[in-house]
Amino acid sequence: EDVLSEEVDLEAGENHLHAFSPMLHENPQLWWPNGLGKQPLYTLQISFEAGVSNGAPCYMESDSCSCRFGFRKIETCVDETLGGGRRFFVNGHPLFIRGGNWIVSHGMLWLSRERYQTEVGFHADANLNMIRVWGGALAERPEFYDACDERGILVWQEFWITGDCNGRGVPPSDRNWPLDHELFILCVRDTVKMLRNHPSLAFWVGGNEQVPAEDVNNKLMKELRLAG
């Protein structure tokens, strides 16, 4: 259980996504938001050992990678009986959201693991259970998410769309910004791949209080749903 080895053949220059056979895990320790329980974390380690192809089973580690994750199920829906507000359930239990707004840890991007742990810790100590990362700043760093994983803070992560591109203002902005939509999507894909395993990551939002340009939004909706 929970250890899996699979033989792989790769052509020269080949790049592909390898999906392992599903692993069944019994009685997982559940990850809970701050105030509802503990935050047990698991580590996934993956390694590739290259073998000599002439029949000799001589394996040598070529590369390895790892990520932390947690067992939790987050569900959300819009509840019209509650005025159209969004409800959240974690591991089947309803969660009353007590959220904080997050911009950036330091205006000159003087970021550190310790600073993230302290600042996220303040939120947890204040009994909050969600942080919204505003789209006018950063896709927050893995060190920020590590701190949220460890303190049970759910994260609402926005992409980089704000009042600077809502078609209003003096002079007026343009709802079609940024200019390079492909670059925006490329950055989104890379950001999602970087952060998607963190149990604290609750959901993505296209932008601040608005949706991105139509083609960008359509791609986000399609690709994020597929990823889910």
Partner: protein
């Protein structure tokens, strides 16, 4: 996050200089034993020559300039007013060279060769550059298909230019966002021009912060040199799906991007292992 076989994080020993004050090209800056007009070595960080200062990487150019005493800390009092805004002085004012050097072991000698062998590949990884950069290593310009964008990780295969068993010289010319915008009118986000780029937008100022003068230009996240074999792993992904409503059983769907960077076919074994980090500071394989 990736845990490669060998990784060297480049977070110290950096120096920086304003681009228009540097006469050398990127190739020249990263060629061994290059000597400047005043007789000193570009990388002689002990005696900073005029124009070169100790740099903070990861960080922003403004962070480096504040650290070097060129400008006061913008977050105290009205200090921000004393720092030139990119809208007034132009993008060139905050276009800087960042240089460092690092040593690589001689992987082909008797000692280390047994570990990594001839299949070794060397990768230069940048986790975040705002907004674009020209990268040089050991006299060669490294080209990336996507040079622009604040939120993009970039990796260069530098195996062919890496100097094993000796010093390697790295120079990065960092350019600010292409549309830094004008903030003279104040208000929410100045003239909003920053939103034309894929970058942080708060830097033109908002109702809660004054404009960031350099628009957060810089190598703002980790830089590392990573050694791997010919086959590399990237972006591991794990999805937990519970079976039924009891939450007592779950299926783990695990995937990873596998790349054979060599020009030869390769056979190997992929292994995935789940480890539970227990409360008592120990851990064990489930």
């Amino acid at each position: 996050m990736a845990t490669p076989v060998r990784k060297l994080v480049l977070n110290s020993g950096w120096i920086a200089a304003k681009a228009d004050a540097v006469r050398q090209t990127g190739e020249e800056l990263t060629t061994l034993n290059v000597v400047c007009t005043d007789g000193s070595d570009v990388f002689d960080a002990e005696e900073f020559r005029p124009g070169w200062i100790a740099a903070i990487v990861p960080g922003t150019i403004l962070n480096t300039l504040v650290n070097a005493g060129v400008f006061p800390d913008p977050f105290y009092g009205l200090n921000n007013e004393e720092i030139p805004d990119i809208a007034h002085v132009g993008r060139g004012f905050y276009t800087y060279w960042f240089c460092t050097h690092f040593a690589l072991p001689d992987l082909f000698s008797e000692g280390d060769g047994g570990v990594l062998s001839q299949c070794t590949r060397v990768w230069l990884q940048f986790n975040g550059i705002n907004y674009s950069a020209d990268v040089y290593l050991n006299g060669a310009k490294l080209v990336h298909p996507n040079p622009r964008g604040m939120f993009l990780r970039r990796a260069f295969d530098v195996t062919h230019v890496a100097n094993f068993g000796g010093e390697n010289r790295l120079a990065v010319l960092v350019h600010p966002p292409e549309h830094p915008g004008n903030v003279d009118g104040g208000g929410q986000g100045g003239d909003h021009d920053i939103a034309k780029d894929v970058t942080a937008q708060y830097v033109e100022g908002w109702d809660w912060i004054k404009p960031i003068r350099d628009r957060n230009t810089g190598i703002w996240d980790e830089v590392a040199v990573v050694l791997t074999g010919a086959v590399t792993l990237q972006n591991p992904h794990v999805v937990t799906v519970f079976e039924g409503s009891s939450l007592a059983k779950a299926k783990l769907h695990v995937s990873v991007e596998v790349t054979n960077a060599s020009s030869a076919a390769c056979h190997g074994r992929l292994t995935a292992q789940v480890i539970f980090n227990s409360d008592d500071d120990g851990f064990y394989v489930v």
